[in-house]
């Protein structure tokens, strides 16, 4: 990265670098073989349309879906909005329910999309999660009512990385005849997902969390039994009427390639990231007291560590380490000084939540970077704690 050669990037839940293989696949589509994929009457358009078809197949394969069940969007935020508002509005229009079940620890855009539906006379049940960040599937079964249209539960939490029990939730939803949507922005390409086995009806995918560029995402929409939506963006009727607008061919190609790369390396990459995380955790625990991990360590995506240092102010800690990119909370809310609502949902107090950081490891992270980052964190925590004791002694 220009201007910051020594900086270390450990914020892969905020965004990932574009994989060189992905970049190579997408670049020709900007100028060499450009075309509007909907202009199928001429060669330029057909070539673009074929590239889109291939990418659709690649994305589908990542989650065990069929190509025609994939709707390309501008990103996971749009996918989540389309799934939640689109499915609920369809249910409203056809008298098939006016109730949504979701979790307190969902991504902001899921919670806001649900809240927007309250303006349209929909009720939303926001379920708590345990101290480990996981939802008890039985509480979902209990929350489902006669008029429940949709259950939306994220696959992997963006702050603490915990993996929700998707298959159990899917089973419950199918038994009750309720649509099951999962925000898999942090999960797709990181853990194995299977929309059949997990009985998922709608699933949101993000490009820039899986080493594709920003500005592209997808929504899986089940065909059998069919999940139905009202479109959020109307017009030319692209994406089978569910999402109008010219498809960004280079970005679509990139997402397809990123899906393939992730699928091929899923197990290998998982092992690598798990090892890097263990290395970081043991370095920190060996040198520091009062280190605590937020959320279940067992049921967690390999690249995530959310960790607190008792008595430390995480914002000040990060300011002490300009060469290290980590975060407090999610990127969308990182400008806010409020403690993370996700950590609060785990039952943590403000002090511990405010003492926690998210460390996100990625495909190109090296052991040396982890060691250097651990050193920085250890030094910064020690200095802050020393300063705190000195002030307390005055």
């Amino acid at each position: 990265m220009s201007g910051a050669p020594t900086a270390i990037y450990l914020d892969h839940q905020a965004t990932t670098p574009v994989d060189p293989r992905v970049l190579d696949a997408m670049l020709p589509w900007f100028s060499e073989t450009f075309g509007n994929a909907h202009s199928e009457q001429h060669a330029w358009g057909r070539q673009a349309a074929v590239a889109v078809d291939v990418a659709r197949e690649q994305v589908a394969r990542l989650i065990g879906a069929e190509a025609r069940e994939i709707v390309f969007t501008s990103g996971a935020t749009e996918s989540n909005n389309l799934a939640i508002k689109g499915a609920t509005r369809f249910a409203l229009r056809h008298g098939r329910g006016r109730h949504i079940v979701t979790l307190a620890s969902e991504h902001k855009c899921v919670l806001e999309a649900c809240a927007a539906m309250e303006d349209e006379d929909v009720e939303v049940s926001v379920l708590p999660v345990g101290a480990d960040g996981l939802v008890d599937p039985r509480s979902i079964a209990e929350a489902i009512r006669e008029d429940t249209a949709l259950v939306t539960v994220m696959a992997v939490n963006n702050e603490i990385g915990v993996v929700q029990p998707l298959a159990e939730i899917g089973e419950i939803c199918r038994d009750h005849g309720v649509l099951f949507h999962t925000d898999a922005a942090q999960a797709s390409g990181k853990i194995a997902l299977d929309v059949e086995g997990m009985k998922i009806d709608l699933l949101s995918i993000s490009g820039h969390k899986v080493y594709a560029p920003k500005g592209i995402g997808a929504l899986y929409v089940r065909r059998r039994p069919r999940a139905r939506l009202l479109a959020e963006i109307s017009g030319g009727g692209q994406e089978r009427g569910m999402r109008s607008g010219t498809l960004p061919v280079p970005l679509v190609v990139a997402l397809g390639e990123a899906a393939d790369v992730a699928r091929d390396g899923l197990a290998r990459e998982g092992e690598k990231l798990t090892a890097l995380r263990a290395r970081m955790l043991s370095r920190l625990q060996d040198s520091l007291d009062g280190v605590f991990v937020n959320g279940s360590m067992e049921r967690r995506v390999p690249g995530n560590l959310n960790i607190g240092f008792t008595g430390v102010n995480a914002e000040a800690l990060m300011a002490e380490m300009p060469e290290l990119a980590i975060s407090t909370g999610s990127a969308c809310t990182s400008a806010s000084v409020e403690p993370s609502y996700v950590l609060k949902a785990l039952g943590m107090n403000d002090e511990d939540a405010g003492a926690s950081v998210r460390i996100g490891f990625g495909r190109f992270t090296t052991g040396n970077e982890v060691d250097a980052a651990a050193e920085m964190i250890i030094r910064a925590v020690q200095e802050q704690r020393a300063g705190n004791s000195a002030r307390a002694a005055e």
Binding site: E40, P213, G215, S327
Partner: protein, 374 residues
């Protein structure tokens, strides 16, 4: 694949855009992140916002980046008022943004009927948005937006102008147009697909379509498409510099092309030809030969044009634009759109005219089926 005359569907990205995007794609960072990776990419988004704002003559705070023109149009029509009026020749993303819009009629050239609009707006009660495009994507016909803006404002409504096809080909200054809201798309001006903008007058704020994080001042959630926005910014700067020479060069090529087509087939029709048009667009009707056959024949000869707009080009229904201009189904089906670009050369036009004229000749000698293919 030699000659591309479908620039209203999409344009290749400009070389400067491609290199700026390559740089942006090599940078990691989420613009919402507070660390330096985040701040660096945030700066590139801010610079592009300035460039798009300059193109539209608004302040940077009044630019909302979207995933493209369709989203910008949907946001404009659904984000400000429940009551919506749209012209009959609007793009599908305007026509279909709401299900209960009132339709403003157009004349035989596709120009909005001002008297009809005034009648429709008389006695208007409460907030409303009136949407009329600056230039039509199929015919290139320019609307009298200043007069339309006056009528709209006299009725106390907001005026939205879809300037997606006009940008880069004519000035698109929001205030000069008299618009309150205006849609732009990057991939029609040499920028990338997947990014657009809704620009607004001071004090206008839409109800968001996409909710979530606080991006775009809470008017459009979702991590910004940074490389796309960077490309959009470079394209916006570029077209401001070349807008003047663009029209002068292309109008000459286009007019000469039409003259030769009419010489080859005197019964051919230039739809919208009686109105002021974009310099690059020609909508040509060849009686007796369906647009689909024309496009296919040209495609086989290595020339890309389209029948109607790209989004609806898979459909077999005749163009709603031409129907609104009073053409019957047959006449509407027999039209093709030829749209030139900044890189179009005289010999590209020669090749197109040759293939098309040959097709017209074969029609006259009966070598072509006279029946339109549905």
């Amino acid at each position: 694949m030699d000659i591309y005359l479908d620039h209203n569907a999409t344009t290749p990205v400009l070389p400067q855009v491609a290199s700026a995007m390559a740089d942006a794609l090599a940078r990691t960072g989420n613009p919402s992140s507070v660390h330096r990776f985040g701040r660096l990419v945030r700066r590139s988004v801010d610079e592009s916002r300035e460039a798009v704002a300059a193109l539209a003559g608004v302040s940077a705070a009044n630019v909302v980046f979207t995933s493209g023109g369709s989203e910008a149009n949907n946001l404009a029509l659904r984000g400000f008022a429940d009551r919506v009026f749209v012209s009959a020749v609007e793009h599908a993303s305007v026509l279909d943004a709401v299900t209960d819009a009132d339709i403003i009629p157009v004349d035989a050239d596709g120009v909005v009927d001002l008297a009809a609009l005034e009648d429709m707006l008389a006695g208007l009660n409460g907030a409303a948005v009136v949407s009329v495009m600056l230039a039509n994507n199929e015919t290139g016909v320019i609307q009298p937006v200043a007069k339309i803006a006056d009528a709209v404002h006299a009725a106390g409504a907001l005026f939205h102008c879809d300037a997606i096809q006009a940008a880069g080909k004519r000035p698109v200054d929001l205030r000069e147009l008299g618009a309150d809201l205006m849609s732009l798309s990057a991939h029609k001006i040499g920028g990338p697909q997947g990014v657009g903008a809704l620009v607004m007058r001071d004090g206008q704020d839409p109800e968001p379509l996409i909710r979530g994080g606080g991006q775009e001042r809470r008017r459009r959630a979702g991590t910004e498409n940074v490389p796309g926005i960077v490309g959009f910014g470079v394209a916006a700067r570029q077209i401001q510099e070349t807008a003047n020479s663009y029209s002068a060069k292309l109008a000459g090529l286009r007019d000469e092309m039409e003259r030769r087509l009419l010489a080859a087939a005197p019964d051919a029709l230039i739809h919208g030809g009686g109105a002021e048009r974009l310099a690059n667009t020609s909508c040509i009707g060849l009686p007796g030969v369906s647009g689909e056959i024309q496009v296919m024949t040209l495609d086989l000869a290595g020339v890309a044009v389209s029948a109607g707009s790209a989004c609806s080009s898979g459909k077999v229904t005749p163009s709603h634009v031409l129907s609104a201009m009073g053409l019957d189904d047959d006449a509407a089906r027999n039209a093709i759109r030829v749209s030139l670009g900044a890189d179009t050369k005289a010999d590209h036009i020669d090749r197109f005219v040759d293939v098309w004229s040959d097709m017209a000749r074969r029609r006259d000698t009966g070598a072509h089926s006279r029946r339109s293919v549905a």
